[in-house]
Symmetry: C2
Subunit: 360 residues, 2 copies
């Protein structure tokens, strides 16, 4: 079904119209340093070139592109933030180079094709928000055949983790159910209506909320209990929407910690700025959102909890079946299936299990 | 402009599709007792009669109407909550009386006109959500000429208050600005972009958020420092959408507390269940959301802060100019103008002032 623009605005774009939200992204040092270095350590890509910034927001990437020597930068932004980008461009005296265009990148018409598409399109666990669709559309329409994508590559990662959140969320869920039973008793006692028939749907609703919705976390690396696996590699120059609609992978990971609890999975991503084959980066830059003691990003990691956690030990092998599709109700949200088989280091096979999660 | 149904769902209806949210309303004892008593102390209105419940949610009001003796109840609900209402009706063995219909009340067709329209349509400060529009529409189409509205009357109230929130929000706002100045310095130092041109728009955005958005509060009665005034009286049997599009009133209130701080205004509402002239209630019931030590409602009071607060004393007179219109972006939200003139008990007239607020 085609996406209703008004609904998409109400559900998605509206938040980007706040400077508060742009500021949060602009305050993410890992993110900022990566794009800054990618541009300024590779000025040879930009000098005298034309650039399209897909989703310019405050205008920051367009401004850097211009400062790095671009001849012309088209800075496209769907929301009213475009007005602020325009002001910022002017205040930084780049109005002769940067042209801010308010509109969906899918709808705009440029007077020329561009040498570079730069965009910060990554959502939680890379693909939430489905904004890469817009970048692909822009690329297919407006990038020259020998053009460069910034970033050029992206990867999705998954690893088994331990976290107290699993028990905590289970407690929250139990508490919500206790509360519900009291509620049913009170309504019966005071108002003569038996609500018990809604216990199952209420429990399902709360379960989805507490146990089946992915969580934002910034994990400590010591919470990662097994070898991270790559779920998906994307070449931004060639990927199609078809390629990312449905991410499916079977990966293995072996537990690296001594006897510990397997409490769930963490997903994260990295992107690279490598230029292209004919015109590689002088300095390759990586932006990673992996668990780190030093560097946190606003993306954190996307955590999927297991209830209850399982006891595992070093060298237990996990085979993980991962599948992610878009939510039927909102194409910018995701639904994840995670299946797991554990072969213990003793050779013993545990009963496989699967869980469903929503990325909201 | 006509309202896009998809957008209206994304902005408004979606929350009502959660049992969690219905449960919050069902747990509001003041609300529940009022409707329960209104129905069961006035069974003579219901016995053998036909009823339309506008926005039945969980189905509670429809079920009570049936239990009070209605011959037939049409229970209309826009969201999927209708399915749960249906289950609840069946579990309470009322499926022969209560007919649950999923749809907007604006779109449905009934086989007959009804004797009673019952609805819990009140939003924060009565009119937020603009759901009374739907009740008016249902009334004009489906209520018999001698039909009864439940509730039959509604009033909006306003009073001057004192609250620590005024200083607190001012501090929050100042903190947000300090933080912004640091941010501007950092971006300049690390990334060579001057963001100062966005200081004014950022400050406006934060000001709107912290100082110009109404707040939900449950005030203690001793925080009300002057006589409450009635802003609007609505006869639910005759009111038109035109009557409530724009609520304007000039009211006076005199300060009742000894020297104190005038920190803002609190708005609340009450509704009454009185039947109609030919067929009055046997027992009139009132549902009020006024500040109370004993009884809190989920509506609380809607608070509009003054920055900075003003010193006032007993018998100072306030003339308050109130105006409330719907937000252009979302007809279910409101924009409020509050003007105030203070004549001190000494006879001295203070400089009049006006403030703008958003009810979000
Ligand atoms: N299809 C589309 N067309 C135009 N803008 C889009 C878009 N999809 C998303 N956006 C915009 O893309 C931005 C992504 S956030 C990144 C903002 C900025 N480039 C920075 O790096 O700080 C948001 O402001 C969002 O409104
Ligand atoms: N135009 C409309 N048509 C049908 N349902 C509507 C409506 N506008 C609002 N509603 C529904 O009205 C309900 C209001 S909340 C009140 C629910 C229930 N009557 C109770 O008293 O507990 C919500 O469930 C909302 O989805």
């Amino acid at each position: 079904a085609p996406v209703d623009k008004g609904v998409d605005y109400a559900n998605y774009f509206c938040t980007y119209a706040f400077l508060y939200h742009q500021k949060e992204m602009l305050s993410d040092r890992v993110r900022m340093d990566a794009y800054f270095n990618a541009v300024f350590e590779n000025k040879h890509h930009f000098q005298g070139k034309t650039v399209l910034d897909v989703g310019t927001g405050s205008g920051i990437l367009a401004i850097w592109s211009a400062q790095a020597g671009a001849r012309k930068v088209y800075a496209v932004e769907a929301t009213k933030m475009a007005e602020h980008a325009q002001e910022l461009v002017k205040a930084n005296k780049l109005q002769d180079v940067v042209e801010v265009i308010q509109g969906s990148v899918e709808d705009i018409v440029l007077p020329e094709k561009v040498d570079i598409i730069i965009s910060e399109w990554m959502g939680y666990f890379l693909l939430r928000e489905s904004m890469f669709d817009s970048v692909i559309c822009a690329r297919d329409r407006w990038l020259k055949p020998d053009g460069i994508m910034y970033p050029s590559h992206a990867r999705m990662w998954l690893a088994p983790i331990r976290t107290k959140l699993a028990d905590q969320k289970m407690n929250d869920f139990d508490g919500a159910l206790d509360d519900w039973y009291n509620f049913v008793d009170e309504i019966k006692a005071h108002y003569g209506v038996d609500m018990n028939v809604l216990t199952k749907p209420y429990s399902d609703e709360q379960k989805r909320y507490y146990l089946q919705t992915s969580l934002w976390c910034n994990l400590n690396p010591n919470q990662v209990i097994g070898r991270p696996a790559i779920l998906k590699e994307i070449d931004c120059l060639t990927a199609t929407v078809q390629d990312i609609l449905n991410v499916q992978a079977t990966v293995s990971s072996s537990i690296t910690s001594e006897s510990t609890k397997f409490c769930g999975y963490a997903g994260w991503f990295d992107v690279h700025f490598r230029g292209n084959t004919e015109n590689p980066a002088q300095k390759e830059i990586e932006l990673t959102t992996e668990p780190s003691e030093e560097y946190c990003t606003h993306w954190g990691q996307t955590t999927f909890l297991l209830n209850p956690p399982l006891s595992v030990g070093a060298e237990d092998d996990l085979i993980i079946h991962f599948s992610m599709v878009r939510s039927k109700e909102n194409h910018r949200l995701m639904e994840v299936d995670l299946g797991c088989e554990i072969r213990q280091s003793s050779g013993n096979l545990l009963q496989p299990f699967t869980n469903k999660f929503h990325i909201e």
